[in-house]
Point group: C2
Chain length 361, copies 2
């Protein structure tokens, strides 16, 4: 079991990583003792893990209810969020209640946002069950829902009280979702730590084989990088934006295809390859660095090209990105492997990248 | 022009009170310069004041759009909130945008909540146009929407950057709404300052006659009390709860009648009379103190009794109150005029109060 910390003064919290943590009452009891708890999960995750988690919570909590959502990014909207409020209010949950998010990124984002705004904010715990959620979305307090005109357009910064990353859940994770999680793992190496990137490249065969030891190390390394960045810039006024490497292009792909067509990590895989291409065109990295990153993305079984759309379609989709200012997107680019920077890019370079990488292989 | 300050470290902000402030570009420019601004108002307020405010913003802001909501508490729900997001996204408003709430408490709560969660939070300015909003809801950062099972059940603490209370707007405020605002004015005196209460009692005839000088003094006094309380307890972990004096009973009345049937201030008027009755039953205040407060409420042309419901109906409606803990409501009571305390009350005393005051006059 490894324990890390996200340092945010009175909002600091631990991330605990290991196998079998779901069933560990000792880890949950300090937060839920005597309180009403809602386990928010979805129809796929609940049958696998809700009983074990409920077993750990019962006895410690005053009351435990289950809120089971439909599965998938297509349901990450107000209607689903409101079904959480309905359940909490029907059970008369008050401000001292605790929401436990059990699932992947979509469940975590929605349950976290519900916690952020239910009665103006209640405590919540993240129990991420996918690699993507364990290495990325469960840490840092970004919560929210989608709007037809953009992803995560409505949300809040609301830090969990605890993140429990049970890597045992990854044994049964579908291969496609495992690869999607590796996109964020590779991202963390690319933007902040070449040593970590090299270790991940070396471990890729074990990671793809769902080796729990290798996965625990990858999760810990990613959380360490993310916790460091978030600790320096909780609300993304500066540094934190580097965590969006690959996401400006990636969000355009997701929005253009309709959420859920590609997994988020797949869109980020292609988006990172596109951002690397743009970085090279602007003279920030050389061709071998670009190739190394693209090879790692491909080796993780992720796409390295976006859909074959006209450049103009990408440009329009990117103009509503949250990092855009007055319609002009900013890009997270690499100055070197292991070092990212946020800047605007000339239109011609962006269009050249879109022409080169915006044609699905 | 009077200027107060809400002291909340990096979230501190000024409250400016006076006549004609709506049209003062100098007050708004520091916040909106070069940014996209949405004026959120409603169908009643927009024709009266939106043009003047727009005139002050144009030239300073990069772009000004109008978002006009339907009028009334019955519309304080997700559907209306979402129409704000639609407008912001259609105009590609980004994280640097500013939302200006122009209207009463409902507009301020919804526009403020939209600002709290649009792209995980943008700046906002309160321009309250009703007495209730000027003395209470525009200050302190409470924002939110209603749920069929409870008022303000979904929301956020999100402080404005500036509150502009233009008392000139109160000249044309309907008498019924003026009285509703006086409920919160009387409340501030009752819980925190007998000197202020006495001044308000003395000024009631001028206040009811829409005398702008008297109103400016009342607004300033109320904001001073509220700013002091909020500055000590932003997120209502303790002291701030005293601002809910009259609100536990009042919210039950509003929820039971359906939001909007009585004005919020009317329900608070009756609720304060009920809370005073309960305080006297518990031996906290004497009968003359109770009478003095009830007389002031009546003199402000507010109800001093709730609807004639069975006690059990009130009890059920109060059990979902946000101040309830595991279904048991807490009450804000008076230890003396000018001093409030939050505590539980024995069932028999609560039921006696409901029997005595829960019969509409």
């Amino acid at each position: 079991m490894r324990r890390l910390s996200v340092d945010l003064a009175e909002r600091s919290y631990p991330i605990v990583i290991g196998e079998g943590l779901l069933a560990r009452r000792d880890l949950l009891e300090p937060i839920v003792a005597g309180r009403s708890v809602a386990i928010v999960s979805n129809v796929t995750v609940a049958p696998l893990y809700a009983a074990a988690l409920r077993g750990a919570l019962e006895g410690a909590a005053a009351e435990v209810i289950d809120v089971v959502l439909p599965d998938g990014e297509a349901h990450k909207h107000w209607g689903t969020l409101n079904s959480i409020f309905d359940a909490l209010l029907e059970h008369r949950f008050d401000r001292s209640s605790v929401i436990v998010a059990l699932g992947g990124g979509v469940v975590g984002d929605m349950a976290g946002f519900a916690a952020a705004v239910y009665q103006r904010g209640v405590d919540f715990v993240q129990v991420p069950t996918t690699l993507l959620a364990q290495v990325d979305s469960s840490v840092g307090g970004k919560t929210g829902i989608n709007h037809p005109l953009g992803k995560n357009m409505v949300g809040a910064f609301h830090q969990p009280r605890l993140v429990l990353a049970d890597v045992g859940c990854l044994r049964t994770l579908p291969d496609r979702e495992l690869s999607a999680g590796l996109a964020e793992v590779i991202k963390h190496g690319a933007i902040a730590d070449t040593g970590y990137l090299a270790a991940v490249e070396h471990d890729l065969p074990r990671l793809l084989a769902h080796d729990v030891q290798a996965l625990a190390a990858a999760v810990a390394g990613s959380c360490e990088i993310k916790a460091r960045v978030v600790g320096q810039d909780e609300r993304e006024s500066g540094l934190r934006a580097i965590l969006n490497f690959g996401h400006t292009f990636g969000h355009a792909i997701e929005a253009g295809l309709g959420y859920g067509e590609w997994l988020h990590g797949e869109a980020v895989g292609a988006g990172m390859a596109m951002a690397a291409d743009l970085s090279r065109r602007l003279g920030l990295i050389d061709a071998p660095a670009q190739s190394r990153l693209v090879d790692a993305i491909a080796a993780a079984r992720l796409p390295t090209r976006g859909p074959a759309w006209p450049a103009q379609r990408y440009v329009e989709l990117m103009s509503v990105d949250k990092k855009a200012e007055r319609g002009t997107p900013k890009f997270v680019l690499l100055e070197a492997l292991g070092r990212a920077v946020v800047r605007r890019a000339p239109d011609e370079a962006v269009r050249a990248t879109l022409a080169a990488c915006g044609g699905a292989a």
